[in-house]
């Protein structure tokens, strides 16, 4: 996903000299193709995310489309007020890119787990929040935010994500994508946790269920139409995110559902259960420890159905 992002951005930046990439001194082995091919559009600004974000805002106000790049919480929580005051309030054309959304950097420890970012960034007016599920969504999201005039947040996995989509027709910010048809249950997934969700669906199928699956590459603005529609059609909506259960993607879906009258569906939110991951382990291991592996997701859904 990371490499897809860089490849796509190189394409875009070659065609548009106003696209700039600033890194907070991260991206060894990843960003090299960019700085080699587009040296005048690249900046390593050092380990100083507050300055990075506001410099990006200043450049954006002068006509640039500026991508800021770092990992985990560094490009977001470390400089949250800079995003709020300097980027979003000014409608500055700044695209904040985080590599390692969720538990990607599992073994590195809690400091490197980006598990509240969706909720926090979603709370800021005039910030688009995107979390692509696979390489195709990552490429489409990168193109979409580059074309969007304003502040965006792009939460990426790291690499090795499965390809779900062959291609996506008419990808749009704010639109969910139906991946599998089904009945009774609809699973909504955002970000790279999709690979677990898809496997959970297989497990559930073997147990006699047939859930539909949607990916939500955009967490904000959320796709109200799909949520409202599914609320009428299905008995159960399940949200899955590699993120705290509070305020994130599941929270966004819950807000829409709570305000909808006459809905058939109840809601199950799957995410980190309002906790930091203190166990040491890789992403796969931590997902299982904290209830986000395919098997645990399938179990939770079955438990909910059997009430």
């Amino acid at each position: 996903m990371r490499d897809t992002f860089v490849r796509t951005l190189i394409d875009l930046a070659k065609a548009n000299k106003n696209i700039e990439l600033i890194t907070g001194d991260l991206g060894f082995g990843v960003l090299k193709p960019f700085w080699e091919q587009l040296p005048d559009q690249f900046t390593d600004i050092g380990i100083a995310e507050q300055n990075m974000t506001t410099v990006a805002a200043g450049m954006a106000l002068e006509g640039k489309t500026v991508f800021t790049y770092s990992i985990g919480n560094f490009p977001t929580l470390r400089c949250l007020e800079q995003i709020r005051n300097d980027c979003a309030y000014h409608h500055a054309n700044v695209k904040i890119v985080c590599v390692g959304g969720g538990l990607v950097y599992g073994s590195l420890g809690m400091s490197h787990h980006a598990t509240e970012d969706l909720a926090i960034l979603r709370a800021l007016p005039d910030v688009v929040v995107m979390a692509p599920a696979d390489l195709v969504e990552a490429e489409e999201a990168t193109r979409a935010i580059a074309a969007y005039p304003g502040t965006c947040y792009l939460r990426l996995g790291r690499g090795g994500e499965k390809r779900i989509h062959e291609k996506i027709d008419a990808f749009q910010i704010g639109k969910a994508i139906k991946v599998r048809n089904g009945k009774d249950i609809a699973i909504f997934s955002t970000g790279a946790i999709f690979e677990e969700v898809d496997e959970a669906r297989e497990i559930l199928k073997n147990r006699g269920y047939s859930p539909a699956v949607y990916t939500f590459p955009t967490v904000k603005p959320i796709d109200r139409d799909v949520i409202n529609d599914c609320s009428e059609k299905f008995d159960l909506i399940v949200t899955c995110e590699e993120h705290n259960i509070v305020g994130g993607f599941g929270g966004a879906v819950a807000e829409i559902m709570a305000e909808k009258g006459n809905r058939k569906a109840s809601l199950l939110r799957v995410g980190l259960n309002d906790t930091y991951a203190s166990v040491v382990g890789n992403q796969k291991y931590l997902r299982d420890q904290y209830g986000l592996s395919a098997c645990k997701i399938a179990d939770k859904i079955e438990e909910k159905i059997n009430g």
């Binding site: 050092g46 507050q50 805002a57 200043g58 106000l61 005051n85």
Partner: protein
């Protein structure tokens, strides 16, 4: 309007705006008034008919709390009607306590300290990349330099040789509760900037000749082969121009109330009014002004360290100056 006239207007508007609104920060408005006046009268290229003119110099006012000074300068320079200044802080106004880019002439919204230099540096960096000729001016507070993000920007601006960036620090030696040196020591302030690679010019920032000379020197610095950015450390007095406000931290938050506070402030300004300047509020000054009475709060020490009697083994109150005077603080 020359810079002395504009500075007087800024002070007069500042007193009126804070008086009407009950707004804070008149001490900072008064310390920075001369810097802002010289910038708008003699230095910055701007066009009030076309506030977004691409060739204008950019101006970032990082100490946004003293925004009344900038509003006054913008109104007097033709960006909007002087009458609008009276709406400062009012419901439905464009003149928020801290500057907002929703007002024509404001390039960048501030209010949270420590952001402005990065924004100015980003603008200067973009201008340099695009080979544009305009300059970027940033005005910072000195207390603001407690923020770590300022020093991130200081390093960045030097590293990228932003010689099109000129920073002015309104070094009024006070923050919001006390003198800097009793809060978080920042001296040797000039040496710090110098150590970070900047050209440093230290002046009396309430002296227009020194300010004008400093901006010329900054322009000359920009042509030097080293391409370093320049900081003007403008040593000012908080509350400058209204004697009873000078060096008195009380006036960081207090506004001139009805009675002797407002009357004495206006009267004192009129005693030093340059020729050919009109006062839109009290054209002939105040007839029979109310004077302070014994027991009124003048000349008292309101710094927090005056009453902070810690048993911590280090001496924490390190400087003082007599409130109501323009003397520099002295070490204890």
């Amino acid at each position: 309007m020359n810079s002395e006239q504009l500075a007087w207007k800024i002070r007069r508007h500042g007193i009126e705006m804070t008086h009407l609104s009950g707004g804070s920060h008149i001490g900072a408005v008064l310390s920075v008034a001369d810097i802002v006046a010289v910038l708008y009268s003699d230095v910055i290229k701007y066009n009030p008919e076309n506030p977004k003119w691409d060739e204008r110099d950019r101006f970032v006012f990082s100490k946004g709390h003293a925004g009344a000074a900038v509003y006054a300068a913008l109104a007097e320079s033709g960006f909007f009607a002087v009458e609008e200044l009276k709406t400062h802080y009012q419901n439905g106004s464009r003149l928020s306590g801290h500057v907002s880019h929703y007002l024509p002439g404001i390039d960048f919204s501030t209010g949270s300290l420590g952001h402005g230099l990065s924004a100015a540096a980003g603008m200067a960096y973009a201008a340099k990349k695009d080979r544009k000729e305009h300059k970027v001016y940033a005005v910072l507070g000195d207390g603001e330099c407690n923020e770590g993000s300022i020093w991130e920007a200081v390093m960045f601006a030097n590293h990228f040789r932003l010689n099109n960036l000129i920073c002015v620090v309104d070094h009024n030696h006070m923050a919001s509760l006390d003198f800097n040196e009793n809060t978080i020591e920042i001296e040797d302030f000039g040496a710090k900037w110098s150590a970070f690679g900047w050209n440093v010019i230290e002046i009396d920032g309430n002296n227009h000749d020194e300010l004008k000379h400093a901006f010329q020197e900054a322009a000359t610095n920009a042509e030097m082969p080293s391409h370093r950015p320049t900081v003007i450390i403008a040593n000012t007095i908080k509350g400058y121009g209204i004697s009873f406000m000078q060096n008195d931290i009380l006036w960081h938050y207090r506004f001139p109330h009805d009675g002797w506070e407002y009357d004495m402030a206006v009267t004192e300004l009129h005693e030093h009014k340059p020729t050919d300047v009109e006062d839109p509020y009290t054209p002939n000054g105040i007839e029979n002004p109310i004077h302070p009475q014994p027991g009124d709060d003048i000349g008292n020490d309101h710094t927090f360290s005056y009453t902070w009697n810690t048993t911590y083994p280090e001496k924490m109150r390190r400087v003082e100056a007599t409130p109501g005077t323009s003397e520099r603080e002295h070490r204890l």
